[in-house]
């Protein structure tokens, strides 16, 4: 696999405050990479550093095997789609799409060909002579993507491109972007705080927190095998239940008064551990040893799914997702079980225990 992009010990400081702490990342050619993380985690800053809009304090950025760390944004082989679209309001759609080429002194006839080609891909031909102010949010977003396509970049950069759209449009644009990636086959780097976008679009998810990469992996890896409690809690909605527990020697932990088997772990020791259980893996069952006893606090019916918000005997809270079954009233006592393979265990530092 050739390199689409490579970050090596990339750091960024604003004055004395370092916000990106030595990020290493390899992105394969044609890969769709999504940066996710809570606000303030540095995902947008990292993207802007790749774009060249933010100076790199330390480290190197390579795109297509070429060191671009000190290059001008226009010379990096990137194109960027902004959250606010950033269309030039005084130019027609056609001029917006062709602006980059006209700055590069490409002949007019050539620009027209390129602009028409991009407009065709995005089905915005009828809009070419309008101004951005006359377009809807979704149309503006298409134009913004079109402007990126015209640049024929090696890497597309998306900075929360769907955040300003309404929910319905967001879904259709998401599918559109996925289609675009399949058709164009370029490397794409996409920043979002929306998990659905991350899970559906990404070949590779990069979870960031406080300027540090917490985990890199396919959506499945990140969801099913979170590297630590942060990733476990961040990816998935509702979030994974993380229960304080104590190791009970060989293959057993004590959580909320229940002795739980953890056969995958040879010896959990006797220290503190955290048990991770996804809401959809919790199954209602009859009272038995090794099950979790809980009291229903709140029951939510959402049609296809229902959520049980429960409290455990020691006060910890637990969310369970059910596909069917009767409504449950607050105050009822229930018991949960799960498949042993679905249980995750983390050490006191929050790291995954294998």
């Amino acid at each position: 696999m050739t390199d689409g992009m490579r970050l090596r010990q990339v750091r960024k400081s604003f004055g004395p405050i370092e916000v990106i702490h030595g990020v290493d990342l390899v992105v394969g050619e044609g890969e769709f990479v999504v940066f996710v993380g809570p606000s303030g985690c540095g995902k947008s800053t990292l993207l802007r550093m790749i774009a060249g809009l933010e100076e790199v304090s330390d480290g190197d950025i390579e795109i297509g095997g070429k060191d671009v760390t000190d290059l001008d944004p226009s010379q990096r082989g990137i194109a960027m789609v902004f959250q606010s679209y950033a269309l030039y309001p005084h130019m027609s759609v056609r001029e917006n799409l062709g602006f980059g080429l006209s700055m590069a002194n490409v002949p007019k006839a050539e620009i027209a060909v390129q602009v028409d080609a991009a407009a065709k891909i995005l089905k915005i031909e009828p809009l070419l002579d309008r101004r951005p102010g006359q377009l809807s949010g979704g149309q503006r977003q298409r134009v913004a993507i079109g402007r990126a396509i015209v640049r024929k970049p090696q890497v597309f950069l998306f900075d929360e491109p769907l955040s300003n759209l309404d929910a319905e449009l967001r879904v259709s644009m998401r599918i559109e972007i996925a289609r675009l990636h399949r058709e164009l086959g370029n490397t794409m780097v996409y920043v979002t705080h929306d998990q659905t976008e991350a899970m559906t679009l990404a070949d590779k998810i990069v979870v960031l927190r406080d300027g540090v990469i917490e985990q890199v992996g396919t959506p499945r890896e990140v969801y099913e095998h979170p590297a630590n409690t942060f990733v476990a809690g961040f990816i998935g909605s509702p979030r994974m239940n993380l229960l304080d527990a104590a190791g009970q020697g060989a293959g057993k932990v004590l959580a909320a008064g229940a002795e739980i088997d953890v056969p995958t772990i040879a010896a959990a020791g006797s220290g503190k551990v955290t048990v991770g259980l996804r809401p959809e893996h919790l199954v209602l069952t009859a009272s038995a040893p090794g099950t979790l006893k809980a009291t229903v606090d709140f029951f939510e019916y959402l049609g296809g799914t229902r959520y049980l918000y429960c409290q455990l005997p020691d006060g910890q809270s637990l969310v369970a997702e059910q596909r069917d079954g009767d409504d449950l009233a607050a105050g009822e006592t229930v018991h949960f079980t799960w498949k042993p393979k679905d249980l995750r265990l983390f050490n006191p530092q929050g790291l995954k225990l294998v």
Partner: protein, 307 residues
């Protein structure tokens, strides 16, 4: 707010009465402003317009002469030369103000250390009155006790005494420098608001599109600041066309009476020679010229057809 049910219960006539009451209330609110505009602008303009059709001496009966004053001003060489001088002054000052104010605006737009200090310093001369500033510069340009002339001499650029206000050129440029010093801060603030209204992402997108700083200025900043530039331009042109204080105070019409601006000429005709009717006709002509200039500027900058 009345509920819909209540509104329905009220008879139509009373509802109409209330609507009429609301209209009177609205009028009441704008009455003070209207009164000021009418008393100090509309009536004087109408009265000036009325006067312009008369031979109106300071003492004695005004005499209706129809368009006589207007016919006269078309062939009045002194008026035409004052018009020429004013046009020359307006072009030079406006260019000079923009040449200074635009870089200043760009300089103080960026968040940098002490930007508030710079903005304040550049704006400070604006709060000085024009007459005061003129007096100050008369002193600065004084041949013996001033600052500029003696300083030029001390630094060895001139052998003999330098009297800046003695020749047309040096007096003219002294006035230009004074006006730029006095007005550029104001234009800077107007341009600054225009610069700040351009979203940062637009410039970033243009950087990615490969536009250099000059191209970004030419293709983004300037077009997006059209309205702001139009405002600054009209204010600057109007202010220059109406220039009077600096010529009256600094040069008294200047070497060989070559610095008589239009307003200065109107002043001379009205309050020195007491041709009040002719002065009025000149004022109305000037008003017409200003309106035409403003409309032309708005047209040229195509303000209003953004969509």
């Amino acid at each position: 707010m009345t509920s819909p049910a209540l509104t329905l219960a009220v008879p139509a006539s009373s509802r109409r009465r209330r609507a009429r009451m609301g209209q009177w209330q609205g009028l009441l609110y704008i009455a003070p402003a209207m009164a000021l505009v009418i008393v100090f602008f509309v009536i004087p303009v109408l009265f000036t317009f009325w006067m312009s059709f008369h031979d109106w001496p300071l003492l004695g009966q005004p005499e209706w002469i129809g368009l006589g004053n207007y016919v006269r001003l078309l062939t009045d060489t002194r008026f035409l030369s004052s018009l020429r001088f004013t046009a020359y002054y307006t072009v030079i000052t406006t260019i000079a103000i923009f040449v200074v104010a635009f870089p200043l605006a760009i300089f103080v737009e960026k968040q940098r250390r002490g930007v508030g200090f710079y903005r304040t310093v550049f704006f400070m001369p604006v709060v000085v009155g024009l007459a005061t500033a003129s007096l100050l510069w008369v002193w600065l340009a004084n041949v013996d006790s001033g600052l500029i002339g003696p300083a030029i001499r001390m630094m060895g650029f001139a052998g003999k005494k330098v009297n800046l206000l003695a020749t047309f050129d040096s007096a003219f440029w002294t006035i230009i420098v004074m006006v730029v010093w006095k007005v550029a801060g104001f234009t800077m603030i107007i341009l600054l608001t225009g610069l700040q209204s351009i979203p940062v992402e637009l410039n970033e997108a243009a950087r990615i599109d490969g536009a250099g700083s000059w191209q970004r200025f030419r293709h983004l900043t300037l077009p997006l600041m059209r309205r702001t530039i139009a405002l600054a331009l009209i204010l600057s042109v109007t202010g220059s066309v109406l220039a009077f204080d600096q010529f009256y105070i600094m040069t008294s019409g200047g070497p060989q009476n070559r610095m008589i601006s239009v307003v200065y000429y109107i002043f001379n005709q009205s309050f020195v020679s007491f041709h009040l009717g002719y002065g009025s006709a000149l004022s109305i002509a000037l008003l017409g010229i200003l309106i035409v200039l403003s409309v032309v500027q708005l047209r040229l900058l195509r303000v209003g057809d953004d969509k």
